[in-house]
Subunit: 170 residues, 2 copies
DNA sequence: TTGGAAAGTCAACAACGCTGACTTAAACTC
DNA sequence: GAGTTTAAGTCAGCGTTGTTGACTTTCCAA
């Protein structure tokens, strides 16, 4: 099953178990797959006049209801200005609600409104359909490997954020 | 080994073997991992005043020496104008050579120059270092699964391009 | 020889990153 | 209580990279 990855070109030591060409194929697979990964949401977003930045904000507000702007900045890894531009439109369009913090009134806590949640469902459902189809094609063991490699590829800081999100051990 | 993916929340049917929450984690893993995946090349590109579009062009010209602009357009999935802007700077900077076709003189065949190849080596090496580290962390079976899921996630057209590239069965 | 494909160009625009400077309000710290 | 720090928001401006639309040049092929 793992032959295409573990097999070596003759004459190379087997310790590394991966040639540069095999690594290159992994790189290309990431490129092509990410395009597929974003294609379905992109089509939905376009109809609403939004972009990927809006999707990311919506996704993580759904995932961490009541999160602060600062927390979102850390997860998304963008500047305050970039995020703010997106949040402003989402709030103006009534998809996101910003509530002043009770403990710390400097903070704004972000929530999806009913219509924000509807769009989130729409977006994540489209993405899950593709994911589920891929998962069902390749089987559970491949999926486990997929997740392991992705996690190992993250920057440690992002790995931290990733594991802080719900659903790691469901 | 595959427990974290195959285990089910109690009370749900085991036929699908994946809850929406688990699919969501896969989606988030893609997001965070892709950031790590592009981080190292991005740093190198910045020093040269280039962006990801330049990297993609360089990568596939290296991979398919002598490819035509049209073929590159199909692989990259962008408009002629977007690609042309990038190619123009790469050609002006002496990283890419554009040769008029011999059989069909309308076509331009693209090649990396010596310095173009040097940058490609630099970029792909940085990316391979991370890939190799991730692969070594998780082992060959996980890598096989990783590649399988990625390929299943691609649009069929991109899957076609992916398999047309060298290195599939090394 | 003429139609159409391939390549290139120009203009204009949008999304979404970035930096830098600045304000407001609240919270802390001494 | 005064001063500093922190969270958030805003404005201006810029760069990369994507888009559409219109147009020209070159040149193969029917």
């Amino acid at each position: 099953m793992a032959d295409s990855v573990t097999s070596m070109t003759p004459g190379k030591e087997n310790l590394l178990f991966l040639t540069d060409e095999q690594l290159r194929k992994g790189i290309e697979a990431m490129f092509f797959a990410y395009r597929g990964f974003t294609a379905d949401p992109d089509r939905i977003l376009e109809k609403h006049g939004y972009g990927r930045a809006h999707h990311r904000a919506i996704h993580f507000i759904h995932r961490c209801p009541g999160t602060t702007v600062n927390n979102l900045l850390a997860i998304l890894g963008v500047t305050k200005q970039s995020l703010n531009r997106v949040l402003r439109t989402l709030i103006a369009d009534g998809l996101v609600e910003s509530r002043v913090g009770t403990r710390d009134k400097r903070e704004r806590h972000l929530y999806l409104t009913r219509s924000g949640d509807a769009l989130e469902q729409d977006l994540s459902n489209a993405q899950r359909v593709r994911m589920r189809a891929a998962y069902r094609t390749v089987g559970p063991e491949a999926v486990a490997g997929f997740r392991q490699v992705l996690e190992a590829m993250m920057d440690p800081e992002m790995q931290h954020h990733f594991n802080r999100l719900r659903g790691n051990r469901p």
